[in-house]
């Protein structure tokens, strides 16, 4: 069944744990989440521990990622938004490193599991709701009533705004999940063409150069997508946090 393009997303239990009828097993998904966190923390810690005044290559890489997320957040949510910087930075680095780790052959892609991306999106929307109501009380509901709308249109606009707000966690999670899933399936399908063509003999081996080149090209595209989706996830998080900070537009 190893030719099945879906096979790479199967979750297997590495250490079965069962507490009171619930399944708390340590799976390959959990293992790669731990690996993602360890890799990110180790990279950021080791590259910045020398604290050179003139940064080396690796130190400037981690400083660039810091400055990248910081300017993204400052542009979207203003200087008040910087209190959410640790949150947004952790989200961005987790999604980015999980996406990039998943591109290695035989590695498991954590972000191609809908439950993982949905948990991340629910965390974002939960933070927006809790912080918005904590800071503004019921004034947070002004988010659903844009200023300058004629009174006749207000019920319709509120309905549309509520639907748009409710669909945010869905679109945020499905976007990341679907991009990762579709990218990895496409890679696997094209790699499968190489195997099945080269089984046809000399002509097939000559012809299999085409799907092989395509696989290389798609891998390059997937590296771009891995970065872009982490960026989009972080930018949308910044925009939603901006709503919690300044609900009245």
């Amino acid at each position: 069944m190893s030719n099945d393009p879906i096979h790479q997303f199967h979750i297997t239990k590495l250490i079965p744990i069962d507490i009171g009828g619930y399944d708390f097993s340590f799976t390959n998904s959990a293992a790669f989440m731990v690996a993602t966190v360890v890799a990110t923390s180790a990279f950021l810690f080791l590259t910045t521990s020398s604290r050179g005044l003139v940064p080396g290559r690796l130190q400037s890489l981690s400083e660039m990622s810091y400055e990248f997320v910081a300017s993204m957040l400052r542009d979207a949510a203003g200087s008040h938004g910087m209190r959410f910087f640790p949150f947004v930075f952790s989200l961005f680095m987790f999604v980015l490193v999980a996406n990039l780790l998943g591109l290695f052959p035989y590695f498991f892609t954590v972000t191609a599991q809908i439950i993982v991306t949905f948990a991340l999106a629910a965390l974002v929307i939960g933070t927006v709701l809790v912080y918005g109501f904590m800071k503004h009380g019921f004034g947070f509901l002004k988010l659903f009533v844009p200023s300058g709308v004629p009174a006749v249109l207000v019920p319709l606009v509120v309905l549309i705004e509520v639907i748009s707000f409710v669909s945010r966690p869905v679109s945020l999670s499905v976007r990341l999940f679907a991009n990762m899933l579709a990218g990895h399936i496409t890679l696997k399908v094209f790699a499968g063409f190489v195997a099945s063509l080269s089984a046809l003999g000399a002509v097939g081996i000559a012809g299999s150069i085409l799907p092989l080149a395509m696989t290389v090209a798609i891998t390059a595209l997937e590296i771009l997508v891995a970065f872009l989706q982490a960026y989009v996830f972080a930018v949308l998080t910044c925009m939603y946090l901006n709503d919690a900070l300044h609900p009245g537009h």
Binding site: V174, A178, A182, V225, L228
Partner: protein, 74 residues
């Protein structure tokens, strides 16, 4: 009709949605290029928004690809 045949037809129809994403991406990059040629000095500042629009639009095409793949492989 057999279920497998219906699935294959459905996957093919689902892929039509990617044409919409293609139109959207063409609009984004075409308009960016038109704007960049008119005012090249402002082009670099809008590159982030270009990439953002690209990723958000491309995701919709990916959704239809996802539906097709789910029909084929599950």
């Amino acid at each position: 009709m057999e279920v497998a045949a219906a699935k294959a037809i459905g996957a093919g129809i689902a892929c039509l949605g990617m044409g919409g994403a293609g139109i959207g991406l063409g609009t984004i990059f075409g308009n960016y290029l038109a704007g960049a040629l008119r005012n090249p000095s402002a082009a670099d500042g809008q590159f982030g928004r270009l990439i953002f629009g690209f990723a958000v639009t491309e995701a919709l095409g990916i959704f239809s690809l996802l539906v097709a793949l789910l029909l084929l492989f599950t």
